[in-house]
Symmetry: C2
Subunit: 184 residues, 2 copies
DNA sequence: ACCTGAACACCGTTCAAGT
DNA sequence: ACCTGAACACCGTTCAAGT
């Protein structure tokens, strides 16, 4: 009552994510974000440079929210957990997740995930010179699957089928990494 | 001069694709499409139900433009050509291509591509009951890679590196299919 | 049948003004 | 420092009217 609410970058991103989750990407307008925060759209510009930056920030929020598996686990189990975590994130935030393939992870915060994958690959015996390539292929396959699944490209298939797909995907990746590790 | 130009669905989709290629997805407005056709924006509604349908149509145009490899070739070469063709399409139409992962191929025209993949998998000895799964995994990996590449997720890597990535990806897929074919 | 004019509700963004 | 009011240029979409 009366007092203008205090907002910051984090609350803007969180509000945007909530709106996209609840009402879809089309409903994500600066007006809607402002409404949720009890503020006018113009107030957002002090905390986020514009709508494109809002989307970028939301994607990064998705990445940095992921939990990392304990380093004591064997490499293949670490990769499995990372992949399963990515898939779970996609299901929680389907609308925003589909933007993820289109924006490189640049900030140091967002680099934690690929760095974890890299470490697991080296632990698997993949030659360091090749680890970066396999990180790209692995994350692309997992992200591509997760995006396809939540964006409806696999519409008409049961979730049991898709679980089987995901398992087969992980199996293929593990086999390929083991072969690469043995050859190094 | 004077005579109102005749337009149809096909010319609307083509104009939209050209604008997206030349000036990006943000510049793809109904006004811009109408301008290119020498018509007012309202005229487009007779040929396309709205902007969302325009985007859908453009994505489908991408799919149906792909050329199919001759059936005489060995299955692995057919898959290789299909994958390379997809990658080339992505490079020709990067902006629209990134929408592809988000819309299932439903029309019979657009189903030709997955059907070709399916046929090649069966030729490779993959049990028909499993062919559909491998078609999904294969197309997801290839599409995911192509989208990542043209959308800038691999920014900072040389095209030689990415060519190597793509080769490694195809190698991994072929190995996995051969294993699946031998077990069937 | 096909295109246009006029109008509507809504966008993102700016900038000077308020507190 | 942070938010608002007012204004701008532009969206997509509708519907009755023209030819």
């Amino acid at each position: 009552m009366g007092r203008p609410p205090r907002i910051d970058r984090s609350s803007v991103l969180t509000a945007g994510l909530a709106i996209a989750d609840e009402r879809g990407l089309d409903a994500l307008t600066l007006q809607a974000v402002a409404d949720r925060l009890g503020v006018t759209p113009m107030a957002l510009y002090r905390h986020v440079p514009g709508k494109a930056a809002l989307l970028d920030g939301m994607v990064e929020l998705l990445l940095t929210n992921a939990s990392l598996p304990p380093a004591e686990l064997p490499w293949h189990e670490r990769l499995e957990r990372l992949a399963t975590g990515v898939r779970a994130t996609a299901r929680r935030h389907p609308e925003v997740f589909s933007l993820l393939l289109q924006r490189p992870a640049t900030t140091t915060e967002a680099r934690r995930l690929p760095d974890q994958v890299l470490a697991a690959l080296v632990a698997a015996g993949v030659p360091p010179a090749r680890a970066s390539r396999w990180e790209r292929l692995l994350s692309t396959a997992v992200l591509g699957f997760a995006v396809s699944e939540v964006a409806g490209r696999f519409a008409g298939h049961t979730s049991a089928e898709l679980d089987g797909d995901f398992e087969a995907l992980l199996g293929m990746l593990r086999t390929a990494i083991e072969a690469e590790g043995a050859s190094g």
